[in-house]
Symmetry: C2
DNA sequence: CTATTTTTTTAGTTTTGTCTAAAATTATTT
DNA sequence: AAATAATTTTAGACAAAACTAAAAAAATAG
């Protein structure tokens, strides 16, 4: 496995995440995700194509090749292992780990990462509930779904929150919703797409559609 | 404390180490240390001068300012804490940690480093016996001296080995000398500067001058 | 104390990754 | 289907950090 620059790695990772949702990724989407300009994206796409990490024809959008996906999974492995380390060992709170892991993930020493994995006891998911690829790049398919997509009267374990603003954290804290909380959907209202949910045997309470769209759960 | 590029940090660190020995550092020394060209050094010296990290007049050599020394101690703190982590927690051998720490040291998140320090139990020295600066940049003055400088019949604890080639490691292993070994100097021979040393109550054995020059000990 | 050698600096390129402005292509309207 | 709008690419510049080759300054030798 070759070595890639921090910048290249950030592009690869962003494409990987965007293509999960979209299939194919566009220049503007990627520029927006990386807070850069479309022209810079085009430049980098040419580079990654030459390195055979990317399928790309001008104006047609792009996807990672198999090799590109492998590289992406390596970066994600590093990122999530460091997140786990930060939360579990250094006692960072789950909303602080992402930013620090963004820096640590670019240290790409294979032995370091494999020994870190072992030291942590081969964790299966990071503090947000996202699965950690193993040393071979294998990753469990996440059964993670959005709270809005849950069927009535099913229970899900909160595994991640996509927005991480202090505003959403304030609201989550008030509603006593955290990573690991078990939520049961009791009612959905078509008018505003709000829903009523319960935690354990406590009385049901209301969640707005905006909030529900940012909460993801693991369900059986 | 501002943020500096990886390249700037490598220069700052190298100057810090060289000026310990020399007082003032020259262009060629630094180019040699960093495996770069003198012209590149001059370019960077101008940059660091503008940032007030360096006292530098053309052709006169350079030293770090107080601010520059502070920055250097921050980098060294990060480097040595990661070395300790790698050796103590991830079970890297003491001769492997330096290279990996060279990469990790450039992640300059203060909270990360202070929490790492706490997690490790505020270690005082790295696996090579070099002191770790505290969160304020305070560092214990090392009483580390070269084996060649030890007085007869004094005992020193091996704390570091400057050369880290596999050839020297083979020899050290054969002579059963490792970090932490207590050595007592019994005789010195003027002819070839070789010396006889003892480990505990075992019979004395001979060490060449070349080897002794690469072994450093902490003595009282 | 000149002359030569060594060291250091300057000048001009190169590479990587970014940007702006303009041109080319594709998508959307009417 | 032609006109307009949006997206994407190209062309040209710039900053950081490196390099080579040449010039300038300092150190050393005869």
């Amino acid at each position: 496995m070759l070595n890639y620059s921090t910048s290249e790695e950030n592009y690869i990772k962003a494409i990987f995440h965007l293509q999960r949702q979209d299939g194919t990724v566009t220049t503007n989407e990627l520029a927006n995700e990386l807070k850069t300009k479309p022209a810079s994206v085009t430049d980098m796409m040419k580079k990654l194509k030459v390195k055979k990490l990317l399928n790309y024809q001008p104006y047609q959008g792009f996807r990672l090749t198999n090799e590109g996906n492998k590289v992406a999974l390596g970066i994600i492995r590093r990122h999530r292992l460091w997140e786990y380390f930060l939360a579990e060992k250094l006692k960072f709170s789950w909303d602080e780990v992402h930013e620090v892991a963004e820096e640590l993930e670019h240290v790409s020493n294979k032995k370091l990462i494999d020994k870190l994995d072992e030291f942590l006891g081969f964790p299966r998911t990071d503090p947000h509930g996202d699965p950690i690829p193993d040393a071979n790049g294998k990753i469990e398919i996440s059964k993670k779904i959005c709270l809005t997509a849950m069927a009535l009267n099913t229970i899900g374990v909160v595994s991640s929150v996509s927005d991480q603003s202090s505003e959403i954290l304030e609201l989550l804290e008030h509603k006593k919703i955290a990573i690991g909380t078990k939520l049961e959907v009791k009612k959905k209202f078509e008018f505003d797409n709000s829903m009523e949910v319960k935690i354990g045997r406590q009385p049901a309470f209301t969640i707005s559609n905006q909030l529900a769209e940012n909460i993801f759960v693991l369900s059986n």
